[in-house]
Symmetry: C2
């Protein structure tokens, strides 16, 4: 049987743009994984890794306009957004180069012998080593930042792990070009091109997570696809860590006082956040608890004004179909109203909108539960509550989320009223809790956490920010090992000048 | 159907000592888990947790002799060993109290807003929060240190997580008593007794890992049992982290020069390590690569002298049967010899021994592969190698291990010869690498790592040492949150005096 071709498709027209290649067979996946595995030693030096990451950022920038053009043709996300995303991607590569050089991620801990301990402590020296080849499953909605050269790849390379990317079918042409840039950056630094591999095709993705030489995986996508791969990773003869970001509703609570004070600002902010990237963000606010009050009414009015003109093209036809069907299913439910009706626009587009429902419909299991499920695209659900107890009841029924947000009044922001209680209720629900802001826009920073209770992510780690590197490492401790045989990271004279914990005390 | 009784059994006689209680039904497990879940808020304060852990250590010591007596009657491990293990357990509880108070484990990271970043960084503040109720599956072979008040429990409580322990059937009477002490320590500190629960029975263990309110699990035991529970944890509607320690061969390599220099010392050391605790240690050296040289011959002779008198009683009759059958199966293989024959001794005891085999028998798959599997009890396999290439070939066939050890000569310890290469070969195989020592004896220390590639452990974390606390936490980031609403750990004035990373720089 001939291999299935891989086509680049323009979502604006639905037409094929170019034939990118063919889907990889299990044998071809094996070749790519083995090349990555053979290349692992070349990433052992931290300086080489940092230089590689910075070189890749420079080459991506140098090819920026050409890459953005391909990305826009494949995703319809538009030049402005894609230029911004590329800049973020390059910033992220350089940020991980800084993380690699700074060295705290190695987690060096040294204990000198202590005969007084129970049992006595011998000379113990711990640091972290790379896990091995990392499989990266690229996202549809961030063709740069969560794809071939995105956060998973950058953090894995920073950790010293070669990467094999399973390209997303929504942007295979861009994926090939970005992989080419990464491989060129590798070769320019004297590394084997095989430190970054790329494969296309659903079956290739399945083969990848099952390959004996793959040591860990990162994934950004749907609950269905992510759970299937998570299950496959766990069912291997040797299970591997699977860091998947699957889905998130990103609840927002607006207090009555906040709505009263800032209805127009909050409504406009929500309109911007839920339509950003045509609503195709994993942190899009998908459920907003708004008081059934005059302030709440003004908020809904402002939201209606903000989204009334919003329209766009989704990443592919299947997503468009799912969006149109999803909003139609939700709109049909009892007591659901559509102040601005979301749905299809023309032959390939969609228009933004939102639904309202009395919060009381969501406090008990029932037909309205679909409103508590993520709907990918420019739509959100406004649940109007009469009593704060309804807020608590709805929050108590939510699964895990990437983010949870509360909008407070000025005095609540100073700690008055229920503010502290609300924050305490939101914290168990999410990995990032926001006050008086919007969850879209995930900064690349040391304190970032992009993850959350399942199904937000399948592990407790983050896919954005400095600590994302921790996913691809494991600790090793050397006991009673002569200085001459220790890795330089663990020697008494600290030749690399690393931050370390020695006999319980931080030294840096 | 009446609930199955739980009996305490004396392994020296095989006789029932006392009826401890009954196996828990799923409904009873639910009651215990809910009590733990309801108690979670009481552990929020770090000072309270530290006090509770120290209080528990004190109460365990106060009841020490009575507990050791029960432990010995149920395990036959002997008073000296059990007193030492209890001391270790109390030291460990206090060490985690220190970890809780020091506060680095919270991983506080604060980023002030930075408009120059791409995208701009808002105010972000991250720390770690407890996961929730932790299920602990107690080990057979450490009735104190890896059981009800052992490392998993101590680290989970330190993290702020209530614990439900599934008792090991080899010491149910001790388990009840230790759980009683922990609950008394809780109540003395004003905590609900439910912060520590205890259940008996295989089905109860299955119900526990599947309970919706259980957020994570720790396990120490066999590959078979551990893998079944790992699979159950991964297959849940909401999967949970499962930190299991399943099995380890703990390979040792003795260089020809080391054998030549220190044959008698190494042989005697090996005899002591492999028979410690009647060979029932997860870090027992189970495969020793010894040169086919005069030095190697002397080493084997010293080993024979050291183990010739060793005998004891295993933890239960099933283990004894498995040991006797396991050594018999191995001894029958071609070219396998038994300089000291291991096996049954009298009606209930076992005697220590070891097998030798040419290393060439282990370099390719075949009938001898059983020699590369852990055999619980006082036996080890000596593989005699002619060429160092055989060492590499055997090491290349091993699964993951908790430990890997090399014995070197004086000049090799200075870095001469193949020493560095050997260390580089051992590092990918294990979580702890030892030079010129023995893996038995796992110190409780910040730099300890007790874990390793599967099947040694099912995750990359450790079950011993300060970093074991990381297993029971997840990060949360607060974005743009007013000072008045921030947890004290994240406030600008750092009222708790925590070590933190602020704007990329460590502060402590």
């Amino acid at each position: 049987m001939a291999a299935a071709p891989v086509w680049s498709v323009d979502p604006r027209s639905g037409k094929r743009r170019e034939r990118v290649g063919v889907e990889a067979s299990a044998g071809e996946v094996d070749v790519v994984v083995r090349a990555a595995w053979e290349a692992r030693g070349s990433l052992a030096d931290r300086g080489v890794r940092a230089g590689f990451l910075r070189g890749a950022a420079g080459l991506l920038e140098a090819s920026g306009e050409a890459l953005v053009e391909v990305a826009d043709a494949e995703t319809a996300l538009g030049g402005v957004r894609l230029r911004g995303e590329l800049a973020r991607t390059c910033y992220q590569l350089r940020a991980f180069a800084d993380v690699v050089e700074e060295g705290s991620f190695l987690g060096v801990i040294i204990d000198h012998p202590d005969a007084a301990a129970t049992p006595p402590v011998p000379d113990l020296r711990r640091f972290k080593v790379p896990l091995g080849v990392v499989a990266v499953y690229a996202a549809s909605n961030f063709p740069f930042a969560f794809s071939v050269a995105g956060g998973d790849t950058a953090s894995a390379l920073a950790a010293g792990c070669p990467v094999v990317v399973k390209a997303h079918p929504d942007h295979p042409g861009l994926s090939e070009r970005v992989a080419g840039v990464l491989r060129r950056a590798a070769v320019e630094r004297g590394l084997p091109a095989g430190v970054v591999g790329l494969v296309h095709g659903f079956e290739a993705g399945v083969a990848l997570v099952g390959h004996p030489l793959v040591a860990a995986a990162g994934f950004t996508g749907s609950v269905r696809g992510g759970r299937a791969l998570f299950d496959a990773a766990a069912a291997r003869p040797v299970p591997i860590p699977f860091h998947g970001e699957l889905g998130s509703l990103n609840p927002v609570v607006v207090t009555e006082a906040a709505a009263s004070e800032r209805a127009e600002e909050i409504g406009a902010g929500l309109a911007g956040s839920m339509t950003l990237g045509v609503g195709q963000f994993c942190v899009k606010p998908g459920l907003v608890l708004v008081p059934a009050s005059p302030g709440g009414d003004r908020l809904v009015e402002a939201l209606a004004g903000g989204v009334a003109q919003a329209a766009g093209v989704l990443l592919d036809g299947r997503m468009r179909d799912n969006f149109v069907a999803g909003v139609a299913e939700r709109a049909e439910l009892a007591e659901v109203e559509c102040p601005v009706v979301p749905g299809g626009e023309g032959e390939r587009g969609v228009r933004a909108g939102f639904l309202t429902v009395p919060a009381g419909r969501l406090t008990e299991p029932g037909a309205h539960d679909v409103l508590l499920e993520e709907c990918f695209g420019p739509v959100t659900v406004i649940a109007r509550y009469g009593d704060p107890a309804e807020v608590d009841a709805v929050l108590g029924r939510l699964p895990g989320n990437l983010t949870a947000t509360v909008h407070l009044s000025a005095s609540e922001s100073e700690g008055q009223g229920r503010a502290g209680e609300l924050l305490a209720r939101l914290t168990p629900l999410a990995g990032r809790v926001l006050v008086n802001g919007w969850p879209t826009g995930v900064a690349v920073a040391p304190a970032q956490h992009h993850g959350g209770p399942y199904p937000a992510t399948t592990s407790t780690s983050t896919s954005v920010g400095a600590t994302a590197i921790e996913r691809w490492l494991r600790p090793v401790t050397y006991q009673h090992t002569p200085q001459a045989l220790l890795p330089p990271e663990l020697r008494d004279d600290n030749p690399l000048g690393l931050p370390r914990r020695v006999n319980g005390r931080l030294q840096h």
